[in-house]
């Protein structure tokens, strides 16, 4: 099914893009291994689409080189690169039938007998019955699949996806995520996927590069990024993090002890993004689902060696599988805690005094010299 050769990595070396005095992408080195599903994740305007367009050849980099395998393709126009794109708006040709849309790339390369290939490709995306229709007669999800088929039929070395699911509703998006993942596994082509949806990136990609302000903040497997964020931006943009400003009391034997307001907390030294120094500041982070919540009357149950904080519930919202609490604590006025609805304690209502506790291993440390709210998404952005 594929004609990709070994060594078909995408390698960006020192690539950057300026628009006048605005630097959309700062010099960037990135390697996407052949056959992987790679996601560029970030808010709008972070440079992710520009990076993708430079790989496609639709944008000329200001500096740097684009390699496909060992081949330098920086100077090649898009129609000479073995790379195809699925556009955000799909960009299906409105004057051509679905069949002719899918056959377009083959025909331009002078391939005469396209019937079999087009038929197979339409079957792969389950649109065999729609070959003679025009794009406007199809639903959004069907158009999206045509866009994928039109690109994949060319067996590109790399398939670029520019927010391909952005225009679909939530249910269809979930379905298409699985569908795309299935197709990628089936054809084995390298996928580079641009998205602002962190859940989408984590569900689909093997490797995620989180971009912010034209730079890659952090790169790694989804679980690695989620558990060990290196910056506040990553900690807040991927899921939710409770970040607490603290002062380092001591560091010894791989354990860091910090104090914040009335509490003393511990965390492993190897989970600190920067080496902590005694007396220095650090941001202590913990994910909301790692925290357990107890009513203050039962504080005695908590075993030694766990991190603990006290506070008052200010808000709670029941969302079925779990309940999300907001807790006002001396160390932080709006700690978030997600509690699984296994055995619900009816005393945990707004106004109740509570104790929060968690395994110190689940704590991470970040450099305190950065914006603690970086990457916190507003409601409008996450919905779009």
């Amino acid at each position: 099914m594929t004609d990709t050769q070994a060594g078909g990595d995408v390698r960006l070396s020192g690539i950057s893009k300026n628009y006048g005095s605005f630097q959309a992408v700062h010099p960037l080195d990135l390697t996407v291994p052949q056959g992987s599903f790679f996601a560029l994740l970030g808010a709008s305007g972070c440079g992710k689409t520009t990076t993708l367009r430079m790989i496609a050849g639709l944008e000329d980099p200001t500096t740097g080189t684009v390699f496909l395998g060992d081949r330098d393709v920086t100077g090649l126009p898009p129609y000479k690169r073995p790379v195809n794109t699925v556009f955000q708006s799909y960009a299906l040709f409105p004057h051509l039938t679905i069949y002719e849309n899918v056959a377009f790339g083959l025909r331009r390369r002078g391939i005469k007998s396209v019937k079999k290939q087009v038929g197979e490709m339409l079957d792969l995306v389950e649109l065999g019955d729609f070959a003679q229709r025009k794009p406007h007669q199809l639903s959004g999800g069907q158009q999206q699949r045509v866009a994928v088929a039109r690109a994949l039929i060319n067996h590109p070395q790399v398939l670029l996806l520019d927010e391909p699911l952005g225009a679909l509703d939530l249910k269809l998006r979930r379905q298409m995520q699985l569908e795309l993942k299935r197709i990628q596994t089936e054809v084995g082509i390298t996928f580079v996927h641009v998205t602002h949806d962190q859940e989408e990136a984590m569900t689909m990609a093997d490797t995620v590069a989180v971009m912010n302000g034209g730079r890659v903040e952090q790169l790694g497997a989804p679980a690695e990024l989620y558990e060990n964020p290196h910056t506040t931006f990553v900690a807040n943009f991927l899921g939710t993090s409770n970040l607490i400003e603290a002062e380092v009391v001591s560091t010894s034997a791989g354990k860091v002890v910090v104090s914040a307001a009335d509490a003393t907390l511990r965390l492993p030294a190897d989970r600190c993004a920067t080496a902590p120094t005694t007396g220095g500041k650090i941001l202590v982070g913990v994910r909301p689902e790692k925290i357990s919540l107890l009513h203050a009357d039962e504080a005695a149950q908590i075993t030694d060696g766990r991190n603990r904080l006290t506070g008052t519930i200010t808000a709670s919202s029941f969302i079925g599988v779990s309940t999300q609490f907001v807790i006002d604590s001396p160390v932080c006025p709006d700690l978030e805690v997600y509690v699984q609805n296994i055995e619900r304690d009816v005393r945990l209502v707004p106004g109740a005094r509570v104790v929060l506790h968690w395994n110190p291993e689940h704590t991470f440390g970040l450099d305190a010299a950065q914006d603690i709210d970086a990457g916190v998404e507003t409601v409008g952005e996450s919905a779009s």
């Binding site: 898009p78 129609y79 960009a91 040709f93 004057h95």
Partner: protein, 265 residues
């Protein structure tokens, strides 16, 4: 009363339609007249004489052929140049873009008589010989603005990503233009071309100033109206009208059949 209120929109529509079509019907009806004198202004009796001999009036068919020739070449010139201007204005950012966007409207805003007189001044100062070529140059010029406006509207509504998608799918610049840009812009270009043809074929004022001794069809009609109007003028008018209607009907049929077959498959 209630019935009237409910159907008032239909009435208004029908009245407006009648207002539009009545003059055309008069042209058609009087092409079958057999006038008593030289002027075809009052109904006498039914006759197909003029239809049997449409070129029976001296010089009329010659002027008609000339008008069609000029309209044909002016349409081609104005459409090619106008479409290129429209693409340039929409797709590229350059220094004088705003100024050119406004300048395009200048020929449309200028009173035609003034334009005609000024063109004559220009041609005389250049020492040009008035005739076919001066008419063609003038017609191409004033049709240009209309083509630009029609094509620009279409290109503006075109997603630039379609051309990017074509380039991404191995189409070079020429293929991209022929396979994607041109077919999608075609309705705008066709509308501009038809407008240009109608404007050129029709034009009297500018032509009258810049034609020298050459006589186009509108000039022939005007000239003959001083001495008497031959029925053949109505015959030509009716024929043109019927051809135009036929073109529209055939185009509609083709597009509706295409849509139908696309849906039934």
């Amino acid at each position: 009363m209630r019935w009237l209120r409910r159907n008032i929109v239909v009435f208004a529509g029908l009245l407006t339609l009648a207002y539009l079509i009545l003059p055309n019907i008069v042209v058609m009806v009087f092409s079958f007249n057999n006038p008593a004198g030289k002027f075809n202004y009052s109904w006498q009796e039914f006759s197909t004489e003029a239809w049997q001999d449409p070129c029976g009036v001296a010089d009329m068919c010659g002027s008609l052929v000339l008008s069609l020739q000029i309209a044909f070449f002016a349409t081609i010139g104005a459409t090619v140049l106008g479409a290129m201007i429209a693409f340039a204005l929409v797709r590229y950012r350059f220094k004088a873009r705003g100024a050119i966007n406004s300048l395009i409207f200048l020929p449309m805003a200028m009173p035609e008589v003034v334009m005609a007189a000024s063109l004559l001044t220009l041609f005389l100062n250049l020492g040009a010989q008035l005739g076919f070529w001066t008419i063609l140059i003038a017609h191409t010029m004033f049709c240009l603005s209309f083509v630009v406006v029609a094509v620009k509207a279409r290109v503006l509504s075109m997603d630039p990503r379609l051309e990017e998608a074509a380039r991404d799918l191995y189409a070079g610049p020429v293929q991209t233009f022929l396979r994607v840009t041109l077919p999608i812009a075609a309705p705008g270009i066709a509308a501009g071309a038809m407008l240009a043809f109608a404007l050129s074929f029709d034009d009297f004022i500018i032509t009258n100033f810049n034609s020298g001794s050459t006589v186009t069809f509108p000039m022939f009609v005007w000239g003959s109206a001083q001495r008497g109007t031959p029925v053949q003028i109505n015959v030509i008018g009716t024929a043109m009208f019927i051809i135009a209607v036929l073109i529209v009907v055939v185009a509609q049929l083709i597009s509706s059949r295409r849509k139908h077959s696309a849906q039934s498959k």
